[in-house]
Symmetry: C2
Subunit: 546 residues, 2 copies
């Protein structure tokens, strides 16, 4: 028997309607390509979004068609989010930092009919143009005065495109499961994979992420999203901020520019921000050098990679800014876990609280985590047992766009993150390794990251990598590959002795080899894939292990 409640769909356009009526005067401030400090209100923004919706409709776009964006965080990109998804088209945000081949691949794979792009990306798209046969036209997100000369198909400026349109537009109603936006993950191997969000998943993520113990968003916050709008919808902030009526401050292309960020924070009285750790490292260094301040800022949600404890301390002690550690993926919209302080955690001694802060956090309501061993059995939530981290929830991907057979979606309805993790009794999850890097010895798992952290704590070691080497008896055993500090010396035996007693005995590497340097990926990270290839023929000394 069904309940007898209204069958109102959860639609992105309802955020627009709500913000216009409830928060008409709240501001959106942007660093735009044609204005270093553009400023208007939610009322203005959604009126322009409706003009854009009318203009897009005139192009003959149909429900479900993909419209791409190649753009930084600013007000026109914000308007595009609402005009495209609100109309029932799919807003495909493209990461301009990808390799050109990948950008061409995803525009073609998504079958984007039109693209809206910042002037700065016109040369990039012109280079790819010949390889994009299905692209019908381009809107350059600027005004006539700043419109570059270009041969892009049917190119015109955003402002001329919407200028003559009416700002009256009735947002259509449709099934809340309708696709709203598309974002490709840029994995290190293989083709980029598209995650196709729905209106429902976006709105549920929005509610959950704004909760008091999560991002605690409210009409009194001033929010600076330093995570790009092409990166998992800027963690949902362009939706959750208008939902609660928070003021939005968009840094445009100046996302990595500490000087701009500091100026925006101080001048716009930013209270809350979000971004990856490197952004904050850059900002902290800039503040140290200049003596400038960020007094209004109170909280930063930080994710994308593990946040160094030193950075958290620096921000807390020198700037009174609380870093909220979060974890998520493109496939999880992205919010999976977040620090979520609890009275139990508050009551712990400072050292233990610090250890908790370094973890990825606790599940947001709606998300379920499961840490499994090799047999699919859930491991205890004891903070020590680790296994494959799986996740499910209404804002988690069920499959990739136009792909099938990806085994990351398991047969019981869980998404396999590819991470290895522990969960402690207080519910805090910590990522300890990547599934492909963990070393499986005798049916048990050894964390490569823990071995590496231990090895680099030896005074002679500059860098270390632990990789799995096939083993006839134990399936796999760890090999430690070490780069010594310039002028330092150490033997394999010395290092193993140093490590002994600090990890379980059976975790100790079967051998240590010394190299001049470790292979890196294109983005400068250690490439364990290449390292494993390099040691493909390696064999442990006959007398080792057993």
């Amino acid at each position: 028997m069904f309940g007898l409640m209204m069958d109102r769909p959860l639609l992105i356009s309802s955020i627009a309607r709500h913000a216009e009526l409830q928060h008409p005067h709240r501001e959106i401030v942007s660093v735009a390509n044609d204005n270093p400090r553009h400023r208007y209100t939610y009322r203005d923004a959604f009126a322009r979004a409706r003009k854009l919706a009318n203009a897009l409709k005139r192009l003959g776009l149909q429900h479900g068609d993909r419209v791409g964006t190649l753009a930084w965080n600013d007000y026109r990109h914000f308007e595009t989010y609402y005009a495209v998804s609100g109309s029932g088209y799919v807003c495909h945000t493209i990461n301009p930092r990808l390799f050109e081949d990948q950008i061409a691949f995803i525009i073609n794979h998504a079958e984007d009919r039109w693209l809206l792009l910042d002037p700065v990306f016109v040369p990039l798209l012109e280079k790819l143009q010949a390889r994009l046969p299905k692209l019908e036209g381009c809107i350059v997100m600027t005004d006539e005065a700043h419109m570059p000369a270009t041969q892009l198909p049917r190119a015109r400026s955003y402002e001329s495109f919407i200028a003559d349109e009416s700002d009256a537009f009735d947002w259509p109603e449709f099934d809340e499961r309708t696709a709203s936006s598309l974002c490709y993950t840029s994995g290190t191997t293989g083709e980029p994979k598209g995650v196709l969000y729905s209106h429902r998943s976006t709105l549920l993520h929005c509610y959950a992420s704004a909760l008091s113990d999560v991002m605690s968003l409210s009409a009194h916050e001033v929010v600076l999203p330093v995570v790009p709008m092409f990166h998992v919808n800027a963690w949902g902030l362009p939706y959750s901020c208008p939902m609660v009526g928070a003021k939005l401050v968009f840094p445009g292309s100046k996302m990595g520019d500490a000087e701009t960020l500091q100026a925006l924070i101080e001048e716009e009285k930013v209270t809350f921000s979000a971004g990856v750790p490197t952004v904050w490292q850059g900002l902290v260094a800039y503040l140290e050098k200049t003596g400038k301040r960020i007094d209004s800022l109170r909280r930063i949600v930080c994710g994308g990679s593990a946040v160094p404890v030193a950075l958290m301390k620096q921000l807390a002690e020198q700037h009174d800014v609380e870093v909220v550690h979060a974890w998520g993926m493109t496939e999880t919209s992205p919010l999976g876990t977040l620090r979520c302080q609890t009275p139990e955690a508050d009551a712990l001694p400072e050292q233990e609280r610090e250890a908790l802060r370094a973890k990825q956090g606790r599940t947001v309501f709606g998300i379920e985590l499961r840490v499994e061993d090799d047999n699919g059995v859930e491991v205890p939530r004891d903070g020590k047992s680790f296994g494959a981290l799986k996740v499910r929830g209404p804002w988690v991907a069920a499959s990739y766009y136009k792909r099938s057979g990806d085994d990351v979606f398991d047969e019981r309805g869980w998404f396999n993150t590819g991470d290895v993790a522990t969960i402690c009794p207080l519910g805090y999850m910590q990522i300890t390794d990547r599934t492909k890097d963990v070393i499986k010895s005798g049916g048990e798992w050894i964390s490569s990251i823990e071995l590496e952290n231990l090895a680099v704590s030896h005074p002679a070691v500059a860098q270390a990598a632990a990789i799995a080497i096939p083993h006839p008896k134990w399936q796999e055993r760890p090999l430690l590959v070490v780069v010594l500090k310039p002028g330092a010396t150490a033997t394999a035996a010395e290092l193993l002795e140093f490590m002994a007693g600090k990890v379980a005995k059976w975790w100790l590497p079967d051998d240590v080899v010394f190299v001049d340097k470790l292979p890196l990926t294109a983005t400068g990270k250690l490439s364990k894939l290449q390292l494993r290839q390099q040691f493909a023929d390696y064999q442990f000394p006959a007398n080792q292990a057993g």
Copy 2:
């Protein structure tokens, strides 16, 4: 085109699962019938809810079957909420304060198969027993030691009912639109009407009500619901508190007992409460008399009827407690509007802020309001224009249980609240009258409540009621019915002169009549229905109005 996100249903059982894993040690404290201060944790609560689910299953209940409760706010009622709805049955909370005829009507109308009831309600149900042919059995919510002797069908104590059951139970998964709970409105006229909530509506209401600018619920709050669990699910708190991990304090049958409430607040460090204005008036009087304190309490959500400004001031100034004014109905789950402070409102002078606090508040995200004139045209949001208040959203009723043809559900999908309201430019809604009490003069509406408030501000007037009298030219004109203070005297002309200039000229009553007393409803409210009947034959003096 649909998004490719997991099709995870929003189910009440997911709150249980989340709270058990994320907030296992948070407490639920209850004033129970067999223990003045029962205390356990969410982990204990949901383990017992699963035992109860196993016991209910053994009764042969089927998906969708109704299970009634006649109970105060305590931990067993909380367990029942989850066991019943989580199993896929419908938890029908019955208001024991209704007339006996109404209680018998709704138990039969709902076709409750089993009832769970507090020992104190056993005599009541025994009286009705002969009229409840479909009731199969009763569980008395106490232990064996406190089990009363009774002839109720298959009666046994709650504790013996669940004692031998396993606490292992897999909450079933089903469509989120499945009915979860049932609550009858006790209108002043006609049969009670049942609102049938769904899992979906309950969870969306839960997310929205917990937001920072709404109830701002978090794991650090200690919540005392003084609104009964048979009254619109205690405004959703038994769901939203475990969702965020707030400690719950249930006052049992002592809901109206200021001494118990004060003791619970001080001893359990209650930070947040919710209830109707009369509860807080009683508490404030008790504190004044005894000099006792409620230092931990910071916020009260107050609704059900308009909150007197004097009460808000007293709580703020003497006890540092902020009253958050809210509005809702059984048909709206109940949350519709809530104060939701904004920076714009904060910036106003104190007098204007006070006027805003007296209003019913702003819409929670998910709820839409519409104020319509007689022709169904939306009136301006100017804080002055008023009309019929309509509401829609995913937690608003679409129809009543086993009824049809109720014209409160309009053909365009809005629920007509029966209230007359204004909405101001900042989005604050204020109820100015009931639709049936408003006076329609020459196509314009006159607020009976405003006329009454003005009349009672005259020093000689004790009570006043303004009602509509049919008028040949103007359709309706106001008649003011007045009870003078003992010993006071005033004439109609004096009163009209007093009122002149304080409302629009055409609002002034066409006549004033004096009576000894005004007719009251069973619950002590002014009965305008009876008053209109009393003055059915009244005719205005010939020389009046025009």
